[in-house]
Amino acid sequence: MSTLDDKPKEVSDSGGFAILFFIVGLVASLVVGWVVFPKLLYSQKKQPFDFNHQLHNELVDDGCQSCHFFREDGSYAGVPKLEQCSGCHEEVQGETEDEAVFVNEYVANNREVPWLIYSRQPDCVFFSHAAHVKAGQMDCKTCHGDIGTSTTLKVYEENRITGYSRDIWGKNIAGFKKNTWDRMKMDDCSECHVKLGVNQTSVQTQKGACFVCHK
């Protein structure tokens, strides 16, 4: 049992250790927060088989819209259905293993490919491709980036909590973005809408009306 006089001395002794422990705690948690956490947060999922956008883009006449087309009613077809692909891929044409997988497992069995969609938004979101591409004359790249020239499909990272793709939040875990296509959160939509004055008719917020992008 120490006396009252002993105490201040010991305190001053442990001051250096306190800073050290502080730094250890800080660094460890920074590592956890910036490196370990993102790895834990997202599960890595592979697409059913690989796909070469660039290769296909060279073979079609109408760019992205050759496969990702608009229907007559203005709705957007999104990822192609088996029927579209099997038009050409009734038989194996190239030499890639991926194509063989596609033809043998999906075309032959008339089974839709369960593609994992990087840009799928939550159900509460209404997004009109027609409004952006047809009326707004935007190109696909503004939101989707350089996917059209990619030669391989990246790993699909699924948020274990929300179930949504990492592309919505963006690769950068801090949420910073350099390009317009780096993130697809509500603020990113809003940023552009505010800039262009799209439907800034909300009585509540004086900004975009909720029903423009929500359903």
Partner: protein
């Protein structure tokens, strides 16, 4: 180095600072808030291409033309089909909710064989081969034992290829017992058979009428082709066409009419004759028609030299407005004014068939109302009632008969229709339970039921259940577990309403020829089979002349060949119709020997006797009279309510599982009843616990109960809710026709 508490604190603070400076807390907060926005168990409907499939409805009796919205291969919404005759762009509430039947977990998923006792609900799924073999075996035994005529078929219609296939089957098999479920169409067809001597349908040029006198017909409560009648009613509002509604309860039709005349129920016939009296005495009738194109108006002498009283003197002698006023409860001057307004209109139309017309009613009432149309000369005229030929596009070779069939067909019908007693009746299904129950051995040994639910819809359900219990073999073709299916031995499930082809001819009351095409909107969801295919398969199994009577490989082939050159066009447009159809003129319309309209049919002269108001069941110990009422929001026919439709039912009709009975506040006071109280309702047929609903819209001493509740089957969203009024009302045989003329029953209501 000494690790103490402070070190740990420092570590903790450092870790805290580090975490705060990392994205972890912010990202976790964001993600968990996103997670809470949409629970994983909340369904996310799959998106896809929108496409529409046009079809005609087999769900409602009105024949709605439908356009079903699909997302890829899912049917998501029913809308009206533009340009479809009658319903043009709209659909009734039951068709709109029809997808709930399509995807109902209570659909019959495969052929089933009963394992427990009847009604116990124990079933065993069996294969189609087994099911058909077993059915054919039972039927074969009937034929071998000389009982071919004991097979009966109950359907909800006798137009179209499905009823025709059943008739073909019965003929080839050797039984006369095809039966259609009763409705006001029975009475109208008989009226036309008597007064026009034609085998035709009563249809109405409602849109062009300029004065409508409705004897209790629920014009906007589901009578006729419901959507078409709604549209007609709206057009009347725009054109200021007057609608007079005669009925004891303030129905929706009464509320929307220009004049509501609460009448003592059952006395409508007398009112019609009272109106005729005024028209005749005031000489307001159409002389051209009455003198040149009608017979039986004046007295005449028949071939045997007997004096016969004509319609004129029959009415003048017996049915003065003051007499009519006394009987009907409607003031004499109101009757006089009504008669003058009616006869003074340029296209007056009188129609009858109470509520949705699910009971035939008194034949004399129909004839009296029809006579009103004749007096004003509005038969086969613009805005009037037309007698239109029945659909005749089915031109098959007649069934081939072997000796057994020929013998069987000689046996009179079990229900007595077409016999000496009821020569004009075609089907008298309401008589059948009594016939079976009073016989030692049931004259029906096997029963097929398709598109009908007699165990629920026929009056006096107890008697029906008893009768069905003594039928040894019952086959149901239903796609939903209804009350009749519960009593069946074998269920051979038909494809659902949006999974099959079927021709839908003649929407009730519609005055142009129409054949609509129901077609598959989606592929069958379960192991079901088209009823036509099943019947062809059973015939094939029976072999011989029965098999030969069905020269088609499949129902689709049968339908295609039946439609002939129209097959392509009906597939394209979904309907064959003739919008330019006009009813034949007076000189060619009537098939009596004189080619004239018969005010009093020669072999059916009530003129020398006074008419009798059909009496309902019950004695004076019952203080009240119970009448049924119809609502668009309650399906009272073979198809029950879907969950969406039941959701629209008012809490003043159904509260929890309790059914509410409308009673006049004064009557309630008289018998010590208060609003919303439990009460015991008693009739000669049965007893039920009900709730009181005070309504000033009903005549004193009359109580009203909605039709369409009290199901035991269908699904858990409907079963057990309320009471089926058919448990409390029995049929009343119209002595003149044999049809069910019950419009109510004596009843009592006491506090529970």
């Amino acid at each position: 180095m000494k690790i103490d508490r402070r070190s740990f604190l420092s570590l903790g603070v450092g870790a805290g600072a580090g975490i705060a400076l990392s994205p972890l807390p912010w990202k976790l907060t964001d993600d968990s808030s996103i997670w809470t926005q949409m629970w994983p168990w909340t369904p996310v409907p799959r998106d896809g291409a929108v496409n529409y499939v046009n079809t005609a409805s087999t769900i409602c009796s009105g024949g709605c033309g439908l356009s079903v919205r699909k997302i890829d291969d899912r049917a998501v919404k029913v809308e009206g089909l533009k340009g479809y005759p009658g319903s043009n762009g709209n659909a009734c509430i039951h068709c709109m909710a029809g997808i709930q039947m399509l995807y109902s977990p209570n659909a019959v998923k495969s052929p089933m064989k009963r394992t427990g006792k009847r009604g116990e609900g124990k079933w065993q799924p069996i294969s189609w081969d087994e099911a058909i073999s077993e059915t054919a075996k039972k039927l074969g035994e009937l034929r071998e034992s000389g009982k071919a005529s004991t097979l009966a078929c109950i359907l909800n219609s006798d137009y179209g290829t499905i009823p025709a296939l059943f008739k073909q089957f019965l003929n080839a098999f050797g039984s006369p017992n095809f039966m259609r479920t009763p409705s006001y169409q029975d009475a109208y067809e008989m009226t036309l058979a008597l007064m026009h001597q034609t085998d035709s349908m009563a249809v109405f040029d409602a849109e062009n009428a300029d004065f409508v006198l409705s004897f209790g017909s629920g014009i906007i409560d589901g009578w006729g082709s419901s959507v078409r009648m709604f549209k007609a009613n709206s057009s009347w509002k725009e054109k200021n066409v007057k609608l007079v509604q005669i009925e004891p309860r303030l129905s929706n039709t009464a509320a929307k009419s220009d004049q509501w005349l609460p009448v003592n129920p059952g006395t409508e016939l007398i009112l019609a004759l009272g109106i005729a009296h005024v028209i005749i005495t005031e000489s307001l009738y159409n002389k051209d028609f009455v003198e040149k194109y009608a017979e039986g108006f004046e007295d005449w002498t028949d071939n045997e030299g007997n004096k016969q009283k004509g319609f004129k003197n029959f009415v003048l002698e017996g049915y003065s407005p003051s007499y009519a006023a006394r009987v009907t409860g409607i003031e004499a001057n109101t009757i006089v004014k009504l008669a003058k307004d009616f006869a003074g209109a340029s296209a007056p139309l009188a129609l009858c068939g109470r509520g949705q017309g699910t009971t035939p009613g008194s034949i004399h009432e129909f004839m009296a109302v029809h006579a009103l149309n004749a007096l004003v000369g509005n038969i086969n005229k613009k805005g009037g009632i037309w007698a239109m030929p029945k659909p005749d596009y089915i031109k098959w070779e007649q069934a081939k008969l072997d000796d057994t069939a020929r013998e069987g067909l000689k046996v009179p019908r079990a229900d007595g229709a077409g016999t000496e007693k009821f020569p004009h009746a075609k089907y008298l299904l309401t008589r059948l339970p009594e016939v079976i129950n009073s016989a030692k051995e049931s004259p029906i040994q096997a029963l097929f039921v398709s598109g009908a639910n007699p165990a629920y819809t026929l009056p006096d359900t107890k008697a029906v259940a008893k009768a069905f219990a003594s039928i040894p073999f019952i086959v149901s073709f239903t796609s939903h577990m209804d009350e009749t299916a519960e009593m069946a031995d074998i269920i051979l499930p038909n494809h659902g309403h949006f999974e099959r082809y079927e021709d839908i001819p003649a929407p009730p009351g519609y005055n142009k020829p129409v054949v609509g095409l129901a077609r598959p909107v989606i592929s069958p969801q379960h192991n079901t089979r088209h009823v036509g295919d099943t019947l062809i398969a059973i015939a094939g199994k029976l072999g011989g002349t029965i098999a030969e009577s069905f020269p088609w490989k499949s129902y689709e082939e049968c339908l295609e060949k039946t439609m002939g050159e129209n097959w392509t066009s009906i597939q394209e447009s979904g309907v064959i119709t003739n919008p330019d159809y006009e009813a034949p003129g007076w000189d060619t319309a009537f098939e009596t020997s004189s080619k004239k309209f018969a005010f009093i049919p020669g072999n059916h002269n009530p003129g020398n006797n006074s008419l009798q108001i059909p009496v309902i069941e019950g004695n004076d110990n019952y203080r009240l009279t119970l009448i049924p009422y119809d609502s668009m929001r309650l399906a009272a026919g073979p198809v029950g309510n879907t969950p969406f439709v039941t959701k629209t039912v008012s809490e003043k009709v159904l509260k929890g599982n309790d059914i509410c009975i409308e009673i006049n506040p004064k009557t309630a006071e008289k018998y010590g009843l208060k609003q919303g109280q439990y009460a015991i309702l008693t009739t000669p047929k049965g007893k039920a616990k009900v709730k009181t609903e005070l309504s000033p819209g009903i005549m004193p001493d009359i109580i009203a109960m909605p039709r369409g509740l009290g199901h035991t089957g269908i699904d858990e969203y409907l079963a057990g809710k309320g009471i089926n009024i058919n448990e409390l009302i029995g049929p009343v045989e119209d002595p003149a026709s044999g049809l069910d003329a019950a419009w109510g029953i004596k009843a009592d209501l006491v506090k529970a």
